[in-house]
């Protein structure tokens, strides 16, 4: 029973921390100047692509991102690859900073950004997905519901 309380406690702290971080992130995003890369794609083509590959990320949608914001310029959408970490980190700081945001999970060694198995080697896109619902990579092998909420 004591264990259950501890687990519940962790979940509560996690939820509070997530809320807090969420509020923080909103404020930070206001301050971030996202410089949109120059593109050779026409505005109509961009909006067409946006319909074909819609974003599932409310925060990114609110900020009015289109394809080139994250992917950079391209000619053929088929050549576009999932983002590399450094592309995400252009706005999100460095990997350490991201890990700090979930450092309340360190104690149980399940910080997804600095975990027991993968340390800082996981790709952001392994969990956080733009065009499909996000997933929890840890759940490929673990009962993650005990540790954390859904992936933002």
């Amino acid at each position: 029973m004591k264990k259950l309380f501890i687990v519940l406690g962790i979940i509560m702290i996690a939820s509070i921390a997530f809320l807090y971080q969420g509020m923080n992130a909103k404020e930070q995003s206001k301050k971030t100047d996202v410089v949109l890369p120059a593109t050779t794609l026409s505005a109509s083509k961009l909006s067409e692509l946006k319909n074909d590959y819609p974003s599932k990320n409310d925060q990114h949608k609110k900020l009015g991102f289109d394809c080139v914001t994250c992917h950079g310029d391209f000619k053929d959408p088929k050549e576009v690859l999932p983002l590399e970490n450094k592309q995400c980190l252009t706005c999100h700081g460095d990997y350490k900073k991201v890990a700090e945001r979930t450092s309340f999970l360190d104690k149980n060694e399940v910080n997804p950004h600095d975990g027991f198995h993968h340390k800082d080697e996981l790709d952001c896109a392994s969990c956080h997905r733009e065009h499909k619902p996000s997933v929890n990579y840890c759940a490929n092998c673990h009962d993650t519901k005990v540790w954390m909420k859904a992936t933002p």
Binding site: M1, K2, K3, L4, V7, L81, P82, N108, E109, V110, F116, H117, H118, K119, E121, L122, D123, S126, K132, V135, Y137, A139, N140, C141, H142, D143, V146, W147
Partner: protein, 513 residues
Amino acid sequence: MDRRTFIKTGAITATAAALSVSSIAPFVDAEENTDTEFDEVFDIIVVGSGLAGTTSAITAAEHGNKVLVVDKMNILGGTSLISGLNFSCVGSDEQKARGIKDTPELMAEDMRKVSEDYGDPELSLTVARMTTRFYHFLKDRGVVFKEFKQLGGHSVARAVWAGGGAFVIRPLHAYARENLADRLTMRKRCKVDDIVFENGRAVGLKVRENYYFDFDDPQNDDKKNKTGTVKYIGAKKGIVFASGGYCRDKKLLGAEADILEETNSDANPGARSGTMQMLMSHGAQAVNLSLFRLAYPIPTEDLMWGMLINPDGKRFVNEFGNRNTIGMTILKEKKKFDGKAPLLIYDQTGADNFHDKQRFQLSMEAKNGYEGTMYKFQTLKEVAKYFGYDPRVLQKAVDEYNAALDSGVDQEFGKDFSQMNGAALRKAPFYAMRLTPKCTYTPGGVRITKEAQMINSATGETFEGLFAAGEATGGVHGAMRLTACSVPDCGAFGLISGDNVSAMKPVKLKMKS
């Protein structure tokens, strides 16, 4: 090769043609071509970045070769990175310090005891003989062993433990980055589609770079995933396949034994049979594919302290038995109840009796893999409520179990109650979990010689330029790989393949101009 294996291999090879990404006909060298122009050329390519591949690659690079390691996954390290990696080792400093007498022959004998006479005894002995060298290989390259253990099935204490796979793979990869950067390249998201042969010798690979494993549809990844850009990479001396097992490949497991589809697995999500089937399409002999090794979040030998009941509250198995027998019985029971797993319950005395307290603790902290979490309860009523049992049904099961324990004889299932050391279902708190066996290791795979050369089933000869090591191979362990014997296997054939591919005479290869 016996007839049964031949038929099995033939049948799977036929499917392989249908499944393989590049649709190669069986036994035909699809890329037979004397003048392939390669995008890149290395001395040696190693497929797979787990313990076997890493060992082979480091060994080959230390012999002075230019080596490329490719791995299809989004992260390097394979299943090794997420495994416990207990290492059975003959002649460790830990054994010497304790004056433990051990020999490779004794270790090989222990391995053969659980093999049910499947597999090749010569390969087990080769593994045991290489353990001392591998121990020093690891220690000299930054691996620190923290614990020394006596594990089940071993006639002497011989297992050393570094703290888990991360404490073995990370130091080795760091060592490679720091000391072999000029010779050893590791490339993730690089999937092997085919082998390039020239005059019967394997001289390169057709790969796809920027391969994104399909985590949304992993069962069909080998067949349907079209991501990546095709590239041809040459290997002047040869190729080592350390491409792992197929624990997550429910189609192949199910084809070998229907019931295995009910298993869980927390091996590397990429542990599937695509690469093996490609090898088979070129005639590589695969052996022992029907064999499987079942495991549990907690050690098999600690199941005995508890009681296992089905969703009806009935016992159905002797909890004190071998891993595969208990496992198969659970899987059949699970199937009877529409996939609902049985419940395992301990009392405090049972929990205190655990041989491996670390794994018990991991289960309590929900860190013991998929469906590997154990929960603690003050009363049996709480257990019943949490797991959806009628409290009276659970109480009855517990009472009957305790009464049987008191009588000293398990009339129903023949459990040896004399070994229980006080464990019953009396002393609160109680610990309980649903128990589904996991497929954690596949003993089958491509057949190799003790020199780690891959064998061609069509000719019975070895392939020139093709080697294999680790879980990708078959026949090293037989029916039930002894605990802590995968590390020495990866090590032995990693070292041997690294040495032997290095000794190959290089062929001249053409680069794309």
